[in-house]
Symmetry: C2
Subunit: 256 residues, 2 copies
């Protein structure tokens, strides 16, 4: 299905952005790139920024107009930074991913990105079925074009994975969240002292030897990191460790 | 809540990536950046790539170790390209956004990004409560670090917007999708001919004058772009336009 998804970059000025966009596409499994009248292409800088995705650049199609770029597409979605003279059907990036997924099972789809400085013209936007808006900060909404490609390509891939039911395994998914908890979760600085204390105690009680201490502490970090401790639990454990150290010290004294 | 979200970049080599990461953060409303032992910082290149987000760089905190960067955080999520020696609780980017949102209402949260070439070390990853994996193409999974920051910052913002119930208005949301449709959706090349035909017909029948043709055709594009036409509907309309043109021609002939 991702083969039916095309990324169209209109009038891109900086070769670096073309390269970074190609890389962003390929990381998400999209490889059909069409450049509408790019300022400079091909370019060594684009190839450099594309990193391992230079094959996407090599087979990119270069055309003169947006019409040519999307002539064979049944769904064309244009990226837009909100309000235009005439309001247009607007999707957010997540919906765009879902719409692209649904359509690309049978027909070609294009997502169109505009110029670095002024995006797409009104005329170009009117050639799109839908507009998509990535929700940005109210005061600073200037997404880099390759970053916008990354977000939309990511949403297309996510829609694809969700549809294919390939999410992360359920048992690994849910973090223990502390909503409406009465105690604060202990911050990491304290937890470092906790692990130091835990390790000291294990050494002093003779459980831990110098042989393979690493793996055990890693597993302890995984366990306590996953469950996370609130302040009362933390204090309880620290108290236990202290008591165990005292016992170890007493034993050592008794033996000597 | 976004004030409690920190982006931590560990040992970043390229100043351009630090700048691009700062921009990516700020577009999503996140401004707390912490750099662990960056190779070169500050740098003119970072500032240039940060574009309007140089304030994020200006107030970035620089520390020597990951421990310092996250000491005051109750939840630390490390970016990882999957399998490590010990499996760790793994979230996808969407879940990470939700977890960050839930936690950041009351406590500090960090998302940690590793080196360009080798990511985070096992030791650094073991200092994280959870790992997050952005699902990439099986054969090409090399996300640029600023692109990874963009995706995760975007997911944090989306979780925030969804929780605040600020999605795109419902009436603009649903595209007409053609799942299980018997006819193909007409591609854009044909639709351009449709609009040309429509406009010619309107001119010939005297409905459209030279005064303000733009706005009307824009509205026609919006309407047909939104609903989209299948092949039978398309042919029907083309037939209607042709018939209306014939009538206009006959009328002109009769009048002359």
């Amino acid at each position: 299905m991702l083969e039916n998804v095309r990324i169209v970059l209109v009038n891109t000025t900086l070769p670096a952005n073309i390269g970074a966009a190609a890389r962003a596409m390929k990381t998400m499994g999209i490889t059909d790139l069409c450049l509408v009248d790019p300022k400079i292409f091909p370019s060594a800088e684009a190839t450099s920024l594309a990193s391992g995705a230079s094959d996407v650049l090599a087979k990119a199609r270069i055309v003169a107009t947006l019409e040519e770029a999307v002539a064979d597409c049944s769904l064309v979605i244009g990226t837009s930074a909100r309000s235009r003279t005439i309001p247009w059907p607007l999707m957010d990036a997540r919906q765009a991913g879902e719409a692209v997924l649904a359509e690309s099972s049978s027909q070609k789809v294009a997502i169109v990105f505009g110029r670095e400085d002024r995006g797409l013209t009104n005329e170009e936007l009117q050639r799109c079925n839908y507009h998509v808006c990535i929700p940005t900060d109210e005061e600073y909404g200037v997404l880099n074009v390759a970053a916008a490609v990354q977000v939309l390509a990511y949403e297309v891939r996510m829609a694809h994975l969700v549809a294919a039911e390939q999410p992360v395994p359920e048992e690994n998914r849910m973090p223990v969240q502390f909503l409406n908890w009465d105690q604060e979760v202990v911050p990491h600085g304290d937890m470092e002292r906790f692990y130091d204390h835990f390790e000291s105690m294990l050494l002093e009680t003779g459980f831990l030897t110098e042989d393979n201490p690493r793996q055990l502490m890693a597993r302890a970090r995984r366990l306590f990191g996953r469950v996370r401790l609130d302040r009362i639990e933390y204090n309880m454990w620290r108290g236990i460790f202290t008591r165990l150290q005292e016992i170890a010290a007493e034993l050592k004294k008794a033996k000597s």
